[in-house]
């Protein structure tokens, strides 16, 4: 970029005084950490409610139950940052392992066409294909992303109900259950996978040209084009990766439960959106971080855990969950100081 040195720029006297935006800059950096105090508070509260809360086993349990949905949050976060929405992720979460089970399981609803070792590639391939269909419809045909993925949500859920006959797939091949049930270095593999993927997300979105182009596309599409970013490719790539992540999340859950229910993932998309928005990701694109989204989903699951430990009847958890999401939104609105649109 040293082309400017061809000229010898002569300073033009600037009549207005230097302005410093120190406060605003500090605030922008802090926004990423906005939920840390809330998480700390919940930990203290949880410990007071029930001493089990901060025990290693309990925390591992929270992280593991969260890890599958967290991958959906990661997927939704990158889609939101490029200024789109993908509602179909929750159906991909169920259909991708469902198709793998359909093809590999013998007996019951399964066809048993493929050997068990093909289950994982089949799951990921389905996720990839769904992402590609979304991308073609949204980017190539210019259809409204919200409606396209809403349609896909219904179609994919229907497909899973169709192939499973509304039943649950059992007797999954061992290869399919490995990732969801294995333990690496004393910690469930799904937690490792979740943490590694989030760490990768933080690095890619924060420190690579490709990652930053997501923010440019979501923040101002015309400016991104003018800067030479191939915006269509970015959008297609993001939608495909999101499908892939959703499929992987579904695979982890199926492995942990050793089954694929026809309703796997149904309704999860609301939690996913809530976690992303609480974590500071903007629904209108261009703003938010992977780290913030992670703190968002972590906070939601910690609160749920505290409620369970406090002995709140299961029937009331749903209402409380909704209330918590609303309260968390208000809190994050107050800490960020700006409208969430």
């Amino acid at each position: 970029m040293s082309e400017t040195t061809e000229l010898a720029p002569r300073p033009v006297a600037s009549p207005h005084s230097t302005r410093h935006g120190g406060g605003k800059i500090a605030l922008a950096k802090l926004r990423d950490l906005a939920l840390i105090p809330a998480i700390a508070a919940i930990c203290v509260l949880g410990q007071l409610v029930n001493p089990v809360f901060l025990r290693y086993d309990n925390l591992i349990n929270v992280l593991q139950t969260m890890s599958e949905i967290a991958l959906l949050v990661l997927a939704q976060t990158i889609v939101l940052i490029v200024g789109r929405m993908d509602l179909s992720l929750e159906s991909t979460f169920g259909l991708a392992p469902g198709v793998a089970a359909y093809l590999t399981v013998t007996g019951g609803q399964g066809l048993g066409l493929l050997p068990g070792m093909w289950a994982v590639p089949a799951t990921l391939a389905v996720g990839l294909a769904i992402g590609a269909v979304n991308a073609v419809l949204i980017v190539r045909f210019g259809l409204n992303g919200f409606i396209v993925t809403l349609g896909m949500l219904i179609v994919l859920r229907g497909l899973l109900t169709g192939i499973s006959g509304g039943q649950t797939f059992f007797n999954l091949p061992p290869a399919m259950m490995y990732l969801g049930s294995a333990t690496w270095f004393g910690v469930p593999a799904s937690i490792w996978i979740c943490l590694v993927l989030f760490a990768a997300g933080i690095v890619v979105l924060g420190f690579t040209t490709v990652g930053r182009s997501l923010y440019a596309v979501g923040g101002n599409l015309d400016a991104a084009k003018a800067a030479g970013i191939r915006t269509d490719r970015v959008l297609i790539g993001v939608l495909v990766v999101a499908g892939l992540l959703a499929a992987l999340g579904g695979l982890l859950l199926s492995g942990r439960l050793a089954s694929v229910a026809a309703a796997q993932g149904s309704g999860a998309i609301f939690t996913v959106f809530a976690a992303a928005v609480i974590g500071g990701v903007s629904l209108s694109g261009g703003r938010g971080t992977v780290f913030g989204a992670f703190t968002g989903i972590l906070l939601l699951y910690l609160i749920q855990n505290v409620l369970t430990l406090a002995g709140v009847p299961a029937q009331w958890i749903g209402a409380l969950n909704g209330a918590i999401i609303l309260v968390a939104l208000v809190l994050s609105r107050l800490t960020s100081g700006r409208n969430q649109e």
């Binding site: 970029m1 082309e3 400017t4 000229l7 010898a8 720029p9 002569r10 300073p11 033009v12 006297a13 600037s14 009549p15 207005h16 230097t18 302005r19 410093h20 935006g21 120190g22 605003k24 800059i25 922008a28 690095v203 924060g206 420190f207 690579t208 040209t209 930053r212 182009s213 923010y215 440019a216 923040g219 101002n220 015309d222 400016a223 991104a224 084009k225 003018a226 800067a227 030479g228 970013i229 903007s282 261009g286 703003r287």
Partner: protein, 500 residues
């Protein structure tokens, strides 16, 4: 010493559907000059800019940079090295920092090809310092003022290697002091060999800063001449293509002020303005002059209920107005033309008829139902009344040119037969003819007994006023009756006293 043109377009044509946007048009900009491009709205300027910046492919014609053919449309880097455009609409990304905006998609990378943010910020700070742009690179770009945002865009263009910069109405949203700073900077850059193509509706600015002017009319290049030898009358004639009639607003006889319609006493609003007193009589036009930040806009917005004052009262036709309440202001008979028609004036997706009747839902049908026929009837009357150029009232308002959009906003303000009409910079960003028409129309409204308040720093807007109140730093510092000179008024707006 005139070298090869920095950019030369020959016989460029482009049509959109049945509309001819450019018809064998051309332009030739010599290195080191500041070249003005003027024309009325819809003359083809925007299309030419899109062609010159490689955003649109022309159907016919050639485009040369330094005598070489233009790069392919897909070669964005090639275009960025040759030409850059600072658009009226921002092309910075508000959520990203200034530093990142400067180096978008061409980041400084450290080990493992990861972006090195400290290095990027240092480079950005160096670049900004090099071109004397006084902005903190760590600031999110949305926090920048319009002025700083433009400077950042210019710095970015220069760092890409471009030495030819198109400024598309850069002064439209700046106040007088900022315009002067921009011009100083342009002169400085010109001495360093930067070539500008300058687009503006303000002819005065062209005489101030430009060497050569090219006039577009009806999709064609009609004139290219040195600014020095061109009279204003000739320039306007080239733009309009017909003899210019005398300005109705300027010739208006001073109407005797009737009963005060609006009385403002002791109005203050935290740090915006303090202790403002004035009144406006029936049939009187009062100007609120002042530079950006003088408080004139906020004061005008308070009159119509968009802002709530801390202290003071506003009385309309003898009755105190509920502060900070737009419906109450409408009910009291106040019509309003807001500052920015894109943001506050019009609903882009809605039709002309819907936009024009937004303030008068009760007249559209009984019990909250809207009669399409009645609405269109009212809108047609407005379209005829204000000579809005459109095939019909059901077109989306965004299909109109800027001048005609502003007429829709004025039509809506007049729909209530207001007692008091408040306008903020009513002629910003519209062409000369629409401007004269609008100002003439405003004078006509006043003649029928409506009190008018115009908040503007545009001398042409203020020329038709019976009285002009000048705000500076939130206080009324001067009051002029008819017969003020440009010098006096500008000096007062800038806070300079000519008589000391």
């Amino acid at each position: 010493m005139t070298g090869r043109p920095v950019v030369e377009a020959i016989g460029v044509s482009k049509r959109f559907g049945s509309t001819v946007a450019l018809d064998g048009a051309g332009i030739s900009v010599r290195p080191g000059e500041t070249h003005a491009l003027v024309g009325r709205n819809g003359a083809g300027k925007s299309t030419l800019v899109a062609v010159l910046t490689g955003l649109l492919a022309p159907e016919a014609g050639t485009l040369l940079f330094d005598g070489e053919p233009a790069p392919r449309l897909s070669d964005r880097d090639g275009w960025r090295r040759r030409v850059a455009c600072v658009y009226q609409r921002s092309t910075v990304i508000g959520e990203l920092t200034v530093a990142e905006n400067l180096f978008l998609n061409r980041y400084q990378r450290g080990p493992a090809r990861l972006i090195s943010w400290p290095r990027l910020r240092r480079e950005a700070a160096r670049l900004l310092a090099e071109w004397s742009v006084d902005v903190d690179p760590r600031l999110p770009a949305r926090e920048l003022s319009v002025e700083d945002r433009q400077l950042v865009e210019i710095a970015r263009a220069l760092s890409c290697g471009a030495r030819f910069i198109i400024l598309d109405e850069p002064t439209a949203q700046l106040d007088a002091a900022a315009i002067n700073r921009l011009f100083d900077r342009m002169r400085g850059l010109r001495e360093q060999g930067v070539t500008f193509l300058f687009i503006s509706h303000h002819l005065q600015e062209i005489y101030e800063i430009c060497d050569t002017v090219t006039v577009y009319r009806d999709a064609r290049q009609v004139l290219t001449a040195p600014v020095a030898g061109l009279t204003r009358a000739d320039l306007v004639a080239a733009m309009t293509g017909e003899a210019r009639p005398g300005s109705a607003a300027a010739d208006r006889a001073g109407a005797p002020a009737g009963e005060p319609v609006l009385t403002v006493t002791g109005l203050s609003c935290s740090d915006r303005y303090t202790g403002v007193d004035f009144d406006v009589g029936a049939g009187e036009i009062v100007g609120l002059a002042g530079a950006g930040g003088s408080g004139k806009t906020e004061l005008a917005e308070t009159l119509v209920g968009l802002r709530r004052p801390d202290t003071g009262t506003i009385t309309v036709a003898g009755r105190p107005l509920r502060p900070g309440d737009v419906p109450a202001a409408l009910a009291a008979g106040i019509g309003f033309v807001p500052r920015d028609r894109h943001r506050q004036g019009l609903v882009g997706g809605m039709s002309i008829a819907d936009n024009a009747t937004l303030t008068i839902p009760h007249r559209l049908g009984p019990a909250g139902f809207v009669s399409g026929a009645r609405r269109d009837g009212i809108a047609r009357t407005m379209i005829d009344d204000l000579a809005i150029k459109t095939p019909g009232p059901d077109l989306p308002v965004t299909s109109l040119s800027g001048g005609n959009q502003q007429k829709v906003v004025l039509a809506r303000a007049l729909a209530n037969d207001p007692r008091l009409l408040v306008l903020i910079t009513p002629t910003a960003g519209i062409d000369v003819r629409s401007k004269e028409f609008l100002l003439g129309r405003i004078a006509g409204v006043a003649e029928r007994g409506t009190a008018v308040v115009i908040a503007s720093d545009e001398l042409d807007d203020l020329r038709g006023c019976d009285r002009v109140l000048v705000l500076f730093g939130g206080r009324i510092v001067a009051r002029f009756s008819r017969g003020w000179t440009d010098h006096e008024l500008v000096a007062a707006m800038e806070g300079v006293d000519l008589h000391v």
